[in-house]
Symmetry: C2
Subunit: 668 residues, 2 copies
């Protein structure tokens, strides 16, 4: 058991809290926004910085992240504000070996993966959208200048759903915390936070010097989410280890408004020089550009550690100029710089007793160049927070919480493997010819890059079998796998384009009532509801219509899953959102032809059709989803849009069995 140092004075305030989020970066904000959509769950989010100090400098938003932000209602804001990164150009040594030349260009993301493309936008904007969203939905506001001082888990209570087994002492700081150490530079920089250049002790000390304690309080929590970054305090309290490696490669980063004759300054570029290292160009908002620049010559101390004081924007720029010759580059304005050593590490466990969870940078660190950090952090808590929220509400069985670490550690390991391969290819010296085995083949680099799209987009994530994902377990399964097995098996062949375990992809469908075209994913908002998607097939056919009516009759039964698991106070918005897509011609069918279980009164937004729209073409949803347009099928998907179960329209017994294994029946 961990020991909490609770002050013994009488004045210490004590309160209960369902979920305490530690850290207000992208992971923390996502958790807070998601929990805000879970009625009745009491959430607090604390951040040791004061509100004025900005922490992160991440900037890439991947396709899948945009899909998720869209489900919260604000991807359009990011899409409008951001730079769209659509093309990557490859630059390699020219024949003379003295300069670089463009050797190819490809779309930065393979067409067709998602309706969104990756964009580049400063982390601060993303956090701003979350702040607005929290306000809109009455979510927790960030308590700045507040940090945990101690944490204690009462193991005797961890299995009691109603207990508050995690006691955390919070320390409120005076609000005049100063800006972090700038290492003697006038230009803002991230040297202070650069994971592998700064130790945890250094970070703690820097903060401790700056901040005076004002008061403490005790919070008894059901759950604690550690969203507190690479030097995570929560992780250290649990004694969890970061496993992995770090390399010797040192990279500098510049955020500048460049003055240059380099023609691809507004495209993502991978530039390999013959002998001076590599540069990656990431165009950003306005005329700003981020450069990742390999630093071949950095001063090190006796233990091989980099001398941070010697890292200056000037020396980084000089390295950049050498690599990008014969093109010239200087800058009109510099906004920020930093340096880092590449390392890939993953935490050895993602949770303690399914009560305290490690997320985001606290759980995995890697190089920033692939633009995955902010995305993976947000997707961690997007996976976790609805489960925690539903457990707090007494709807989701606590056993399902094990799926968080099971699902996300697999992603984290894929990520660092990807990053390791990518970093090696990027930091290596280009091969001079086919015989140069030590060098990196530029053809191979381009191929790896092209293949990486699917992974980098985030849309290919495929969660394994559990009581939340009804599919066969992997053949070589870890015997210590903590999750409950799937109790039913999907009939995947009924919907070949809706793989169980993956996110429900989006195609256009049309509203039956008003002919408006919609991306189907836009109907699956992050509002904490499970989706029951009825592919109703050709409802003109009497036999098919009878199948639909039979399904509807089941849904209407007082002991169906819909009525069994929906809490009495949620009858109106429901725990289950039933959406129907039929395949008959729209004009040959009326809304009133569908049973009321599929179209509640005043709800004209539940029945859709796969047909040609007036102005925006045909979505070919049945074809794209791989569903038989005659017979249809039934799809259950989780509140986070991941597909749980595919089955026949009459397989209500499978559906009932599936939910019986993860949800808790509610009192009438």
């Amino acid at each position: 058991m961990l020991t909490a140092q609770v002050p013994k004075t009488k004045e210490v305030q004590t309160s209960d809290c369902d979920v305490l989020i530690v850290g207000a970066g992208p992971a923390g904000y996502m958790a807070a926004a998601w929990l805000a959509r879970h009625k009745g769950v009491k959430v607090r989010i604390v951040e040791k910085r004061d509100g004025k100090i900005f922490a992160g400098q991440a900037d890439g938003l991947q396709c899948r992240t945009l899909e998720v932000l869209q489900s919260f209602g604000f991807a359009d804001r990011a899409w409008k504000d951001a730079n769209h990164m659509l093309e990557i150009c490859f630059w390699n040594p020219d024949e003379s070996g003295k300069g670089v030349v463009r050797t190819g260009r490809i779309p930065d993301m393979s067409p067709g993966l998602s309706r969104f493309q990756q964009i580049v936008l400063h982390q601060g904007w993303v956090e701003g959208y979350f702040k607005d969203n929290l306000k809109k939905y009455g979510g927790a506001q960030v308590e700045f200048s507040t940090m945990p001082e101690s944490m204690e888990i009462d193991e005797s209570k961890v299995d009691d759903n109603d207990a508050y087994p995690v006691k955390v002492v919070l320390r409120h700081l005076k609000e005049e915390a100063s800006a972090p150490e700038q290492f003697g530079h006038e230009v803002l920089n991230g040297l202070f936070r650069s994971t592998n250049l700064v130790t945890t002790a250094e970070e703690d000390n820097a903060l401790a010097e700056d901040t005076a304690k004002e008061s403490t309080e005790i919070v008894n929590c059901k759950y604690v989410l550690g969203c507190d970054g690479a030097h995570s305090w929560v992780r250290r309290q649990l004694g969890f280890e970061m496993l992995g490696e770090h390399t010797d490669y040192v990279w500098g980063v510049l955020d500048i408004v460049p003055i240059t004759d380099f023609p691809d300054i507004r495209n993502r570029c991978a530039i390999h020089s013959a002998n001076s290292g590599s540069v990656m160009v990431i165009p950003r908002e306005g005329a700003l550009v981020r450069f990742y620049i390999q630093l071949s010559e950095v001063e090190r101390d006796a233990e091989g550690r980099v001398n941070r004081a010697k890292i200056t924007p000037e020396m980084i720029l000089k390295a950049c100029q050498k690599i990008m010759a014969p093109y010239t580059i200087t800058y009109e304005e510099i906004q920020w710089f930093t340096a880092y050593q590449i390392g890939q590490r993953v935490v050895d466990d993602f949770s303690s007793h399914n009560r305290v969870f490690i997320t985001g940078d606290a759980a995995h660190t890697h190089s920033p160049k692939a633009g995955q950090g902010m995305n993976t952090s947000m997707m961690d808590t997007y996976n976790l927070a609805w489960k925690v929220g539903a457990a707090c509400q007494g709807i989701l069985d606590r056993s399902a919480l094990s799926t968080y670490g099971y699902e996300r550690s697999a992603v984290a390991h894929d990520l660092i493997n990807f990053d390791r391969k990518f970093a090696k290819l990027f930091s290596g010296k280009p091969a001079t010819d086919a015989a140069d085995e030590a060098g990196v083949s530029m053809e191979e680099f381009k191929k790896v890059f092209e293949k990486s799209h699917l992974f980098a987009s985030g849309v290919s994530i495929d969660y394994k079998a559990s009581n939340l994902i009804a599919k066969p377990a992997p053949e070589t399964e870890d015997p210590h796998n903590p999750v409950k097995p799937a109790v039913v098996e999907s009939k995947q062949s009924l919907a070949t384009g809706i793989p169980v375990g993956q996110r429900f992809n989006s195609f256009q469908v049309m509203n039956q009532s008003d002919s408006r075209p919609w991306q189907f994913q836009d109907l699956m908002k992050s509002d904490s509801r499970w989706r029951v998607t009825v592919f109703a097939g050709d409802v003109r056919d009497a036999e098919q219509k009878a199948r639909i009516e039979k399904l509807a009759a089941h849904l209407d039964k007082p002991d169906s899953f819909i009525h069994k698991y929906t809490p009495a106070d949620r009858k109106r918005d429901g725990l289950f959102h039933v959406l129907t897509i039929h395949s008959a011609p729209r004009v040959e069918v009326e809304l009133h032809d569908f049973p009321t279980a599929l179209r509640p009164q005043h709800d004209y937004w539940s029945v859709y059709v796969d047909d040609m729209s007036h102005h925006e073409g045909h979505g070919h949803a049945y074809k794209n989803y791989g569903v038989d347009p005659k017979r249809g099928c039934l799809v259950i998907s989780r509140p986070d849009q991941y597909v749980s179960l595919v089955c026949e329209l009459e397989d209500t017994d499978l559906v009932e069995k599936f939910f019986a294994a993860c949800l808790i029946p509610q009192k009438k």
Copy 2:
């Protein structure tokens, strides 16, 4: 000269103001937002209501209006919040004559007219977007509870650009103005404002009773914009008359959440019953629906005037039920109701001395069913305010102000002609057969409706020749036409898809630097700049490249229009925005191939290409704009996106002559 009753006390505050906007409805807000983009122009906007009383209930936004809101940066908000109205269904008497039956459906707007479709959204939302926009750009905030008391034009000064010839006494009201008379109803209604059911005197009296004067002030104005609605005080001060007619048809309006088995309740519907009159259905936000219902039985007094007290939601609903049989209709919730008599009237003059202008409902009234009112009002001031703003800035010659009335009175007359025809067809009884000449042929009605799309969308507006529109004057021109004639003639054949006088249509082009696809119109923001669009053709061709270089050399000359008319303090953002679209394959050209006149430093958003995008197809801009992809052409368009001049790339003499006739050379 009009006489102002200026109080003779010493305390009266006196100030100057460039533009005083009277009335904060859609016309007033548009004027304020547009003027906010005109640097240095001092604007006030006053509204006699207090901020709590909401005035209008308009709800339709047409394609062209959305294009304009997009140019201000917020069409996306309306697009997201609104109901999209995509289909119109025709319902006519069934064979028995006892009920109605669906006889056809068509897209509510012909495909291809605009990238936007019409949407339905309460006026209050639109005004909200404008409020946010005014805040963002430091525009004038509405001064509520403030109304003009007198207005005096000093005719000796009207031609002096720097003078403030309009003296207005403003009266500040106590802020406790009560809500307008509800005519004994508990449900909110618009009977009070219903143009033809309430006289001007009644409206004035109603307000006078409610509001106590607190203080007055004197404002000396360069310009006054009358945006004060159908009973316009400004119009009455000028003694202008509304010319036209009104019919005997009385219609009721209900905004309700209906309970009904009518299958097309989420489509726009035109329902003609055999003997009970007509209904129009307009689905709105959420489950709300607006009904326009013909009232065949209304009580009238001795002079034939409608007895307003007898108009109740119940009697309107009853009429609706009769018309919509055999379908049943009742409601769960009623938000608002009103009644009106159809009339079509236009003011006899749109301005006095080009100093005081009449806009929006103050200039034209008609029936609300075609959804044109709010749109035409906003488009009036969108046409006017940039001209007034540029005149205040000393950039635009005051003669160009005459184009406002010239251009918009034509639109107003087209509108009331359209409305007259439409209203007659809609209020008439359906013909029982081909021999029934008194009845309305339902086939003709459908045809008129289909044809009306082009007009109703707002995209077909075609301004006639003037010193702002370089095209031939109409053959039968009014000899009293107040505008200066066009001094040059466009070479329209060079760009058959860019008709001079019409709005610059939008097609997709792709950014040369980063391959991002853009709707070309999105690059033509309402920021007060003129656009110089260079269709550069195939710049791989040496001869064509030489033509582009010659054009660029002209633009660089210190005495070119760009340098002659741009004020010294606007060098950075400029009065002219040069945009280039070339037709060579993107990968065969570099940004640096273009002369710097077409791509200022750090500006990567000026050069575009007509090519296939990575993810969003090909815009075929040259084909759609009807421009020769080899030779290109030059297009000048006004700050409000209307096309002024089409000519050859070497026709810089025409361009110079065009601007010399409307702009004022600036001091160096």
